[in-house]
């Protein structure tokens, strides 16, 4: 019951936000440097809460998927990861691929988060880049020297969301594009087969 009420309320709020956004002549919530930092702080604290919850791995992965959808611009990430093939894909294929990509990323990286138990994330600074803001953080894991994790945040989707992440300079989106490209090649370029298999991998 509690859940239902919450969902309805959230639905109402989202609908209201949508109406407001479309009725205003300029973007309703232009992304600011502080907003970009805030977004990264929220992502980090939500992920930390899940890691510390002590739930089963599968339950955690479901929670990560929710966080990913809430704070990440999943459609643009999926589209970039698919690369040139996204142009040839039909709307329904893109929808299915985006959904499969979302689950695949959540499982693949959700499993890795275990290694982050007890880790500390410090938001260091933010600065303007072409598409929005770059927010640099420093991650300190137990028994290792701190490393650099950078989030790229943009409001081009209509809301402030992160669209890429760099771990010590390694571009996750580009890494996934290479991986998805190799998976597609291994399936003779058959996007439908890739979608089917992606739903099971990660």
């Amino acid at each position: 019951m509690q859940n239902n009420i919450l969902n309805r309320r959230k639905f109402f709020a989202t609908a209201l936000a949508g109406v407001l956004a479309t009725s205003l002549p300029f973007p309703a919530f232009a992304l600011t440097e502080a907003g970009a930092k805030q977004l990264v702080n929220s992502v980090v604290s939500d992920i930390t809460r899940v890691i510390d919850s002590g739930k089963s791995e599968n339950a955690m992965i479901r929670d990560f998927e929710k966080i990913f959808v809430q704070y990440g611009d999943v459609p643009i990430m999926a589209r970039y990861a698919l690369g040139a093939d996204a142009r040839a894909a039909s709307a329904s294929q893109m929808r299915q691929f985006t959904k499969a990509f979302q689950g695949y990323i959540s499982r693949k990286y959700g499993r890795r988060f275990r290694e982050f138990i007890g880790g500390e994330v410090t938001v260091r600074n933010a600065r303007k880049i072409k598409a929005g803001y770059e927010v640099r953080t420093s991650v300190k894991l137990r028994g290792s020297s701190p490393f650099d994790v950078t989030f790229l945040v943009s409001d081009k989707s209509g809301r402030g969301k992160f669209y890429n992440m760099f771990i010590e300079g390694v571009n996750l989106l580009l890494t996934e594009r290479t991986e998805i490209g190799a998976m597609l090649d291994a399936r003779g370029g058959d996007l439908n087969r890739l979608i089917k298999d992606l739903n099971r991998s990660g």
Binding site: P75, G83, A86, T98, K130, A131, F166, V170, T175, A182
Partner: protein
Amino acid sequence: MSNRAFFKPLIVLCTLTILSACASQPQDAAARGEVFDPYEGANRSIHKFNLGVDRFLFRPASKGYVKIVPDPMVTSFSTFAENISLPGQAVDYLLQGNPKQMGNALLRFVVNMTVGGFGLSAPADELNLPPVDTDFGETLHVWGFGEGAYVELPFYGPSTTRDAVGVIINLFSNPINFTPVRPADNLGVYAEVVRRMGDRGRFSDTVDSILYESADSYAQARLIYLQNRRFELARDDEEAYLGLYDDPYAVTGTDPVRDPYLDPYEDPYAE
């Protein structure tokens, strides 16, 4: 002894010749984040060989090592390997014309070797000095040598022609190798192998996911190495660092690697 003294400059000369003769990457290609891999066929064979070495030797040995040896000891051995490399890093900083970091490396070495109990811990970390992390590949970078071609080295893994030269030079460039009181020849190399075993064992799930679960582990390892290496070398150069960003919202072009789509802001759900 005299043989050794004769050989060293020869090795340096040879490697520098190799470096200049090697296929070189078109200007700025590295800055645009591209991959230059003219030896892909040979590299892929070596990758296959390295996977075999990992699967049957390095992976089981590393997993056994971190299982048997208590965690704090694994950390100590890794710290020792890093500490013993510090004089070599000081030499590289000197060659890079960076006396500040050279002093930093030497200070860390002295503190960690004494207060840190023969280098088994790193109390110098508490001094709030900037991190020390360099090698001869970086020295060559500072001297203006380009990245060169991507190469995968047997047993060692991903590298570039420039960094491979650095790896070879660094085998000899640590002054520790010349001290009369050194406990063993090539101590640094053995310590480095142990350090790598610690990392391989500790992060075995992550490494396994790249090496064994990826659709193309060669391409993944190549991309991850090159990006991470370029990031390390560009760390102090804000402009070069920003240049690494590809804007998925605005990219255009025809290169299949970077390609993208014409207007990323067309709604992927529309139609």
